[in-house]
Amino acid sequence: MEKKLKYALYTGCTARESTPELLKSTLAVAEKLGIELELLDEASCCGASHLQDFDDHLSLVLNTRNICYAEKQERTMVTLCNTCQLNTNMTKERIDHDPELKAKVNKDLAEVGLEYRGVSDVKHFLYAILDDYGLDNLEKQIVKPLKNFNVAPFYGCHNIRPSELHGNDESAYVPDSLDRLIQACGGNSVDYEEKNKCCGFHVDLQAPNTANRLSGNALLGAIDSDADFMVTPCPLCHLNLDVKQHKIGETMGRDIEMPVLHLPQIIGLALGIEPKKLGLNHHVVKSVYFQ
């Protein structure tokens, strides 16, 4: 790399709480690749599409405030969660295209001495690696290719839909970024019908049967296509697929034992970073191959 990549890292809540392995592995991979990540410790929760159902204006103001802190660093904001990416980017899209709305949001932000200018982009870590770092460069760093592993990519909704918003060249119907990344890490990416489908996370509490069945379809799809493990760029999908896996097995009437890895974890493994540093010990369903 000629120029050091520098980003403002919006961790989201999950990476600091229920999926600590996501933050660990992201930081380890960034360090190894020489990518500078400055944590946005000032940021608040993105509202996860739920605050958005209750108070639209408040969710706009809070998400805009988060972007303001990336702007202070004059850097692109990198997210680690599909839903953070969706809500932050959707906020940006709306205020960038509506001067009246922008003024209204900025009026509130002025009360705490902030102003949104619209100078920082927002992108998920997956696309920072793909578009900015480049798979060619990544391939050169691979020391422990994931040879002989069948890896099932699970894209998660909010990075690929609505495609109009994301502008990441990903097709909502035939996404391929994760597949390409898996291959760059030396693995064999498997194709299965549910790879671009929903895990149901957002109705976990009120409609667990819906959520379990959607996650169940994905897990069984991966199993039936001979995957050794799954990989996802979204910690919310991960929570469903990993933490709830045994309950999902009960719903589906099948024994399920499918390790699910976070995106930076497979990159880290292929870069030769030790599993402990990537937080693999935090998973409920252990990735036996790497322990």
């Binding site: 608040s44 605050l51 209750f54 108070d55 639209d56 103001v61 809070l62 489908k197 409609a207 959520a211």
Partner: protein, 325 residues
């Protein structure tokens, strides 16, 4: 002279005639596709030149009657609007053409949309208003008031969203994106008087807005860019605005985000679940919570992360809040 560009495409078409067939099957056709072809041209070509028995619906051929929706490689499309060359860009030159729902196939690509219409009917999909039978003057709607509909009135009831919705697929009670968009269409109409009624219908647990999984499939697939999930979000907001939202696990979960953000900036995930579920709802989560605890996925109460400059967040929650529960 302009050259006519054609590409050879292999189509596998879903065939099923319940009078003769025990099970559906796929029939293969290899056809030349030209630049101006839409999916309907291909279906016509198959019917007129290869299999006269192929059944599919179409009427207007102008993207307005909503009858011709099918799935190509699992992507819902309006056959008379979707350009073949665009599909080739996405999928290459092998395509499977299916009915919108294989379970509901009546013959070949024709499906029985009864479930769709039933749910559609349940939201009072019409204007409810005392209309003066002999008005003295025109009933004028300003452009701004018309804009409030957010183009929800563009829906042509093709069903592409409904039969692509994963929530409908696993929960047959869920009324689905098209009916929701329609509920919004009339709730957003200043002449209408049945807003609260509709909100009561669409906020039912098990079938209403809280059962949408927020996957954006409907927004992606809609050939008229109705963006149903955007309308569903608006309906959520309306249930709070109109005081229709009941106190239940889903509404407490939405409100709980504000509460949690006001406390720490970033969520207190455990507290959010407790607040949403109430003490009685917690036992079902205990096995997972224990697994999370064992694997270091639950921070201890004294080590909960908090945002920096929390006072700013607290102030904004105070001055920017617009909703009540």
């Amino acid at each position: 002279m302009e050259q006519i560009i054609t590409k050879k495409v292999t189509f596998k078409v879903f065939r099923f005639n319940p009078d003769n067939d025990v099970l559906p099957y796929y029939r293969e056709y290899k056809l030349d596709v030209s630049q101006e072809d839409v999916v309907l041209d291909i279906l016509n070509k198959i019917k007129w030149e290869h299999s006269g028995s192929l059944s599919y619906r179409r009427s207007c051929r102008h993207g307005i009657c909503g009858s011709c929706a099918v799935k190509v490689n699992n992507k819902g499309v309006l056959a008379c609007k979707e350009r073949m060359f665009d599909l080739i860009d996405i999928f290459g030159t092998e395509m499977t053409i299916d009915p919108l729902s294989k379970e509901r196939a009546v013959k070949d690509l024709v499906i029985d949309k009864e479930d769709f219409w039933k749910k559609y009917d349940s939201v009072q999909p019409y204007l409810v208003a005392d209309v003066d039978a002999h008005p003295e003057k025109e009933n004028i709607i300003t452009p701004k008031e018309a804009d409030q509909l957010l183009e929800a009135d563009y829906c042509i009831q093709c069903g592409a969203c409904y039969y692509s919705c994963p929530a409908v697929e696993v929960n047959p009670e869920y009324i689905g994106p098209a009916a929701m968009a329609k509920a919004y269409r009339f709730n957003g109409d200043i002449r209408d008087t049945a807003k609260v009624d509709r909100l009561e219908t669409v906020s039912q647990m098990g079938s209403g807005v809280w059962d949408c999984v927020k996957c954006f499939e409907c927004a992606e697939v809609c050939p008229k860019e109705v963006n149903p999930i955007e309308k569903i979000t608006k309906l959520h907001l309306q249930t709070f605005e109109e005081g229709v939202a009941e106190n239940n696990v889903a509404t407490r979960h939405a409100v709980g985000f504000k509460r949690s953000i006001a406390k720490h900036g970033i969520l207190d995930e455990g507290d959010l679940v407790l607040y949403s579920e109430g003490v009685c709802g917690m036992p079902q989560h205990l096995p997972e919570a224990w697994n999370m605890f064992k694997n270091g996925k639950l921070p201890m109460p004294w080590a909960l992360p908090k945002s920096k400059n929390l006072d700013e967040i607290k102030k904004l929650v105070k001055i920017s809040s617009t909703a009540k529960f």
